[in-house]
């Protein structure tokens, strides 16, 4: 279920953050020292995900060490906007006292529950008590602060508002949220946020994909506040609009390797003057899923039924794409105003299989150990008491896979990212807003892993990545992955062609928290300078 859900339940995710799917609770922590490794991991996960307060890490830009901090949040994604607020304009006397002739049968039907009375609308409601009949929900607030080992720090806060009143609508047994003609699973929401971050070290190698490999550094403080509105149009398509104010400043740095000491306005636009920006954006997001799983063979009561195979395939195709246009309006000088078209795509195939028969780990079995390695997370184990060879009871661990257990063979991702910047004749894109390739960028998006962070900058960017990721259940939450990266960055007037194309490939390990990859460590090759070791922490805020 997801079931389910189960059910005609309403789960409303505003896509607020790339946040953890489900929080653990601290239930597993009391027995931390006495319990097995998995409960220890559960406890650690709870420390970084339990509501309302938990630790957090990452979310400072790469190159600034490891950040640790705290989060205070209230995530009530399950709040139903279909619940109308209590109408404060109603007077609710006890009907039995005010209407003595009221039919006893009706009183009986009302039952003896607390507050079992009828409400009468107040004909003269106090104006201040009038409420919008739409659902007004201020939920999903979040406040976080963290600091890193090199003195970088950030703080952020946000909350959401669900201003529109949806009704639940059931069609073909599926429950949707209905707003006019729109049938969706998510609802319209507006997120308000504010963030300040102080970054002590960002690297710069000059502009373009042909810049020299000499590393320079700069500091940056940034404050941005604004709002994002997300309107689901269908179950797989969402429109998004954003307005925010951004203010960056680059503190003076006189170090010999500082950008300010080695570059000028021509080679690092915006190095000396940082205006405020009004940033607005319009985008469309898709998130469509399709499952390919054949039907089971028809069951018959034949004397000699067709043997059923052990497994059948189950592939989950998912297309997550975002296309949008962003405007950066220089509020002070006008010189640094620019526009950007950005596209990101992640087409994935989750490879899996479903068990059709029961199989257990009989002594001498060669298939079961292989299945355990491949899909151990789907199996079952139990410790049972049996009679040993000496007649005494012994505890034996028994393992099995049952029909309908799903075996995860890993996930193949095809990722793309395109950025095209547009400026007027007299405008330039400030270097700190140029997209980068190499390692991870300022938003912790991983790109060319064979290169250092921020290695290549340009107004335009193209990136393709292919990844295969596999969880290794016996090592849970650690998994493995292999990847290929290829991309190029170009300045205005340059092409994203072969001359600027860089590529690499490699292998790595992942760490999941609550099912989401939060850390990737890797060894990448192909950049022409040996094996490059690196890691990427997922940006959580």
């Amino acid at each position: 279920m997801r079931g389910r859900c189960v059910s005609a339940t309403a789960v409303f995710l505003l896509g607020l953050f790339p946040a953890l799917a489900q929080a653990q609770s601290y239930d597993s922590c009391p027995g931390f020292w006495s319990e097995g490794i998995h409960l220890k991991i559960d406890c650690v996960e709870a420390l970084f995900s339990a509501s309302p307060a938990h630790f957090t890490f990452s979310s400072v830009p790469p190159g600034n060490g490891f950040a640790l901090g705290g989060v205070l949040e209230s995530k009530t994604h399950f709040v139903s906007p279909s619940v109308a607020l209590p109408n404060l304009n109603l007077m609710c006397p006890d009907i039995r006292n005010t209407v003595p002739n009221y039919a006893d049968a009706t009183r009986q039907r009302l039952g003896d529950h607390e507050n079992s009375y009828l409400c009468v609308e107040d004909p003269n409601p106090p104006p201040k008590q009038k409420l919008n009949t739409a659902s007004v929900t201020l939920k999903d607030y979040q406040v976080a602060i963290a600091g890193s080992t090199n003195g970088s720090w950030y703080t952020t806060g946000s909350f959401s508002w669900l201003p529109l009143h949806y009704t639940q609508f059931t069609k073909n047994g599926v429950v949707y949220q209905k707003l006019g003609p729109l049938l969706t699973h998510q609802v319209f929401g507006i997120q308000f946020y504010g963030t300040h971050r102080n970054v002590q070290n960002l690297n710069f190698y000059g502009e373009s994909a042909t810049s020299a490999a000499t590393q320079y550094a700069f500091k940056q403080t940034e404050t941005y506040e604004g709002s994002i509105a997300r309107l689901p149009l269908t179950t797989w398509l969402r429109a998004e609009g954003q307005v925010e104010h951004r203010q960056i400043s680059l503190p003076q740095d006189t170090a010999s390797n500082s950008v300010q000491s080695n570059f000028g306005e021509a080679t690092a636009p915006g190095i000396f003057v940082q205006p405020g920006f009004l940033h607005s954006a319009l985008a469309a997001d898709t998130d469509a899923t399709w499952i390919s799983e054949p039907a089971n063979p028809k069951e018959t009561v034949d004397a000699n039924p067709v043997p059923v195979s052990l497994i059948k395939h189950r592939f989950v195709f998912r297309a997550q794409n975002r296309a949008g246009y962003e405007w950066y309006h220089d509020l002070n000088t006008g010189h640094y105003s620019f526009g950007q078209f950005a596209f990101t795509g992640d087409e994935s195939i989750r490879l899996g299989a479903v068990f059709l028969k029961f199989i257990d780990n009989k002594p001498g079995s060669t298939a079961f150990p292989f299945l355990r390695f491949l899909c151990g997370g789907a199996g079952h184990e139990a410790t049972v008491e049996k009679t040993g060879p000496n007649g005494k009871p012994v505890k034996v661990k028994e393992e099995s896979f049952k029909p309908k257990d799903v075996c995860d063979f890993g996930q193949l991702d095809f990722k793309t990212r395109l950025v095209f910047s547009q400026t007027g004749a007299a405008n330039v894109v400030p270097f700190y807003y140029q997209p980068t390739l190499g390692g991870s960028d300022i938003e912790s998006r991983v790109s060319l892993r064979g290169y250092p962070d921020y290695r290549f900058r340009g107004n335009d960017l193209a990136l393709v990545q292919i990844e295969y990721t596999k969880s290794i259940q016996v090592l849970d939450p650690v998994g493995i992955y292999t990847f290929y990266d290829g991309g190029s960055a170009a300045l205005a007037g340059q092409s994203l062609g072969a001359a600027r194309y860089r590529q690499d490939g490699g292998v790595g390990a992942t760490v999941r928290l609550q099912g989401k990859i939060v850390l990737r460590a890797y060894a990448a090759m192909g950049a022409g300078h040996g094996v490059h070791l690196g890691y990427n922490l997922e940006k959580l805020f």
Binding site: C5, A10, Y102, Q108
Partner: protein, 490 residues
């Protein structure tokens, strides 16, 4: 007869007695233990004529307010007294009890109204085209929650009332037994909304078995049904959101439940597991509606002396040694002859006992009630080579409307108050069952450390109850730790 069925699907509806639904199918050619048309109950009016069973039950409005079906009410209905002391006429207290509950002498007679094949076409057709049980009793002479718990656990943890807050949480259900890691069988619970099973602590922690009812048909077509499937109806209306109650609990429309029965049957019939599936359509209790058959007592067989007793109820005192009133029960399978009548006594413990016998490694019954319950693994009466290939085409459900004046009277009851201030249409109150389910969910959530967005004491309307149950289900699903398909963690 060997058992060719490998999948059992149970659909349990609400609060209708056997005679009320199927009694008038009786005929010389179809000799079920049904109605001759001469069955009576004394009138509630002093000196009034006895009320005779009639064939004019309507889809709605007959049973508004809800007839009493608590333990005390059922004692009155069966024995004529609140203490359940035998000695007087039996099965003669239905009209009087309902007259007291509804506070209307005339209303009391409505519990004697029954359906016919014309006004209840779907269930009637399946009963006549496959197998009907004319001695399936509810396990408890009481309300829904204890009876449903008996259908899942052969026990209600000592509760005989609807206020069983802790009982749903603590009972060990047959689902937990199936879920043994070494057991190759599995289960699913299809629910369109809330289910009392979500309040069970084990199931709340292992939620992989819960599925939305909207997935049922597709799972049938894919041949993806587990060995044991339990289907919940929807327990309440939510008209604004296009949701109709399908439980048939009075006073929800009977035709909506007929549509659900039809939907389940057609999904199975169209699926690739039809030949190996047995469908059981049964009701949890009689709902305070007339039935003429005295429920038997159950006495512990000395052969099961070593098995525990189901925990007794202390308030009111009851040792679960007496069955509840008969309910409709229909079996459907291509290996059942048309017109089959099963007269062996079954009760809801029979479901637990049969599932354990067929699908569980652990063969130890929960208690002697389960051990003594008749099982139905051998009811199929067609050999393998004579499997039916016909498709029973079900008629459309019928909305048996009440007369116009009666409908107006029912609606008028809410508009009857003429005293000032003017009263608008009533805020729809939650059903007893919805509130009971909410309290049980709240109890379980407190044990799992989950704080609900709203407390049950704040439930005011049916919408509140529906929202609470929906939110609780999601909150519990967020807390569920999968120990099955999602992986085991020692």
């Amino acid at each position: 007869m060997p058992t060719p069925f490998r999948h059992l699907v149970v659909l349990m509806l609400e609060n209708r007695s056997f005679d009320h639904m199927l009694g008038f199918l009786q005929s010389p050619e179809y000799p079920i233990e049904g109605l001759t048309g001469n069955e009576i109950n004394p009138s509630a009016a002093e000196g009034g004529l006895p009320v005779v069973v009639s064939r004019d039950a309507h889809s709605v409005h007959d049973l508004n307010p809800d007839p009493g079906h608590d333990f005390i009410d059922v004692n009155v209905q069966i024995f004529g007294n609140k203490d359940g002391i035998p000695g007087g006429p039996t099965m003669q207290g239905f009209v009087q009890d309902y007259a007291l509950v509804s506070n209307h002498v005339e209303q009391g007679a409505n519990v004697m109204k029954c359906f016919t094949a014309d006004t209840l076409p779907v269930l009637s057709t399946l009963a006549q085209q496959y197998a009907v049980c004319d001695h399936w009793y509810s396990s408890v002479p009481g309300p829904t929650i204890p009876n449903r718990l008996f259908a899942h656990a052969a026990s209600s943890a000592g509760s005989v009332t609807q206020d069983a807050v802790a009982a749903p949480a603590v009972v060990k259900t047959i689902f937990e037994v199936i879920d043994d890691p070494e057991n190759p069988s599995s289960f699913r619970i299809y629910a369109p909304g809330a289910s009392i099973l979500m309040a069970n602590l084990y199931l709340a922690r292992h939620q992989q078995g819960f599925h939305a009812y909207s997935e049922f048909r597709n799972d049938c077509l894919k041949g993806d049904l587990p060995e044991y499937t339990f289907i919940e109806p929807s327990y309440d209306d939510d008209f604004a959101n296009g949701v109709f109650a399908t439980s048939q609990h009075p006073d929800f429309p009977v035709n909506q439940g007929e549509a659900l029965i039809s939907d389940v049957y057609n999904a199975l019939r169209d699926g690739s597991q039809w030949e190996t599936t047995l469908l059981l359509i049964v009701y949890d209790e009689h709902g305070g509606i007339f039935d003429h058959v005295l429920p038997p007592a159950v006495v512990k067989n000395p052969a099961f002396a070593g098995l525990p007793d189901p925990p007794p109820s202390t308030d009111p005192p009851f040792a679960f040694n007496r069955l509840g009133v008969r309910v409709p029960a229909v079996f459907v399978s291509p290996f059942i002859k048309a017109g089959t009548i099963l007269s062996e006594p079954f009760d809801h413990c029979s479901i637990v006992a049969t599932v354990r016998k067929l699908f569980c490694l652990d063969k130890t019954p929960f208690n002697w009630r389960e051990a003594q319950a008749a099982t139905f693994e051998n009811i199929l009466n067609l050999p393998v080579d004579q499997m039916r290939t016909d498709r029973v085409v079900l008629p459309a459900p019928v909305v048996a409307d009440p007369p116009a004046d009666m409908a107006a009277a029912a609606g008028g009851a809410f508009a009857i108050a003429t005293a000032q201030p003017k009263i608008p249409p009533a805020v729809k109150k939650p059903t007893d069952l919805a509130v009971s389910m909410a309290r049980a969910m709240e109890y379980t959530m407190s044990h799992l450390g989950i704080k609900p967005a709203m407390q049950t004491s704040q439930i005011y309307s049916a919408q509140d109850a529906s929202s609470f149950l929906s939110d609780a289900a999601v909150a519990l699903s967020g807390a569920g730790k999968t120990a099955g398909a999602g992986g085991s963690r020692g």
